[in-house]
Amino acid sequence: VNFRGYRRRDGRAGTRNHVLVFPTVICAASVAEMVSREVPGTVSVSHPHGCGHMGKEKDLVVRAMAGFCGHPNVAGVLLVGLGCELITPELIAAEIVKSGQRFEVVSIQAEGGTTAAVAKGKKLAEKLLEEASAASRGPVDISEIILGTNCGGSDTLSGLTANPALGFAADRLVAAGGTVILSETPELIGAEPVLERRAASETVRRRIREITAATEAIAMKAGVDMRGSEPSPGNIEGGLTTLEEKSLGAVLKGGTSAVRQVVDYAERPAEKGLVVMDSPAHDAVCNTAMIAGGAQVIVFTTGRGTPLGAPTAPVIKVSSNNRIFKSMKENIDINAGDIIEGKETIQSVGEMIFREIIEVASGKKTRAELLGHAEFAIHTLGLNV
């Protein structure tokens, strides 16, 4: 089975053809936004990072930014910097040039201020946009899809309808040779036995234990109860009682395949099949990590309803119940709530999600894209001064 995607210089395939205006430091965020506003058709992001990071946190932020900017859904990127920051456009450029990514650079200090930087940025972004317009879609085997999975605003029906239906689609993609990322480490806590039974190797089994233990240790060291954060107040109101219960429902969205690899935050998987990524459960932080790791499409299940999108990748929203599908219809692409009514099955909704992934990968816009949702956030480790 094929989808229609954009073939990039490094051989990877994209599902979108964005020109991204990316500030490598917060001090350049407004200039990036001004440039993007002056060049319709481009997208920009805003974030509070780029300076003060140390050690492992610097590595993580650079990996996330480089993975995001060098992504196959991005035809070209304008890197915007200030001039005195830790993470400069040149640093990110040195990473993404390895995959042949098209980029341009503008720095505010070198240009002599905001106005000149925006003017130069505008010219460069227009050039990138013109080049991007020459790209066209062609047939790509679906085994090249890396699907990111996420769930946010979960209720107890998430684990009964939307997550197992997404799991069915995930299994279909893995069977076709594709890759599925299961993430949100806090939501693996309590579900380790389920994943360990499916670990493809002893290393994978050990790594699953390591990443959940490291996340659990944050709560233990701080002397706090993870409940209230995980599950969140909204989760609890929706009927989820404990972290273990939430996790057992959450991991269903990855399907039932063997776990081939455990990767770090924003790391690109080396294996195909089902892969676990170590990331906080924060929806935008996790989406950004999966995209930076190469995911070109995300499916996001929700029980309480969330509008979240991403700047450069389509996010397909699946509702777990009919109430939220009715009340937040404009934000939902597929409803899994009819499974409870007996009108649909996990398999039939799973098949719908699978077909939607292929259509969206081929260019069909998601509700989040149509509404203009483009949330972006990067994880940090508290190693900044």
Partner: protein, 90 residues
Amino acid sequence: MQALVLSPDDNVATAVQDLAPGVIITIDSTAINLLEPIPFGHKLALRDIRRGEDIIKYGEVIGRATAAIKKGAHVHVHNVEGRRGRGDLA
């Protein structure tokens, strides 16, 4: 459908509509008289559960009972606690 049981080992079911006290639901030919309101998405006890006993859903442990729970009662944060991520107990 009123409530769902996910695994034969489970001692709780999930309400898939708002259920009122006094309603009798039948799960696997066992009648359960609901003792209190069970909101949509919330859990009810399929049998009497002792204090300290494991709560089982998806065939896995999701926490333990912090009080005795009667068959047909609402099972939630007031009578169940998780064991993971509990830095407050460390």
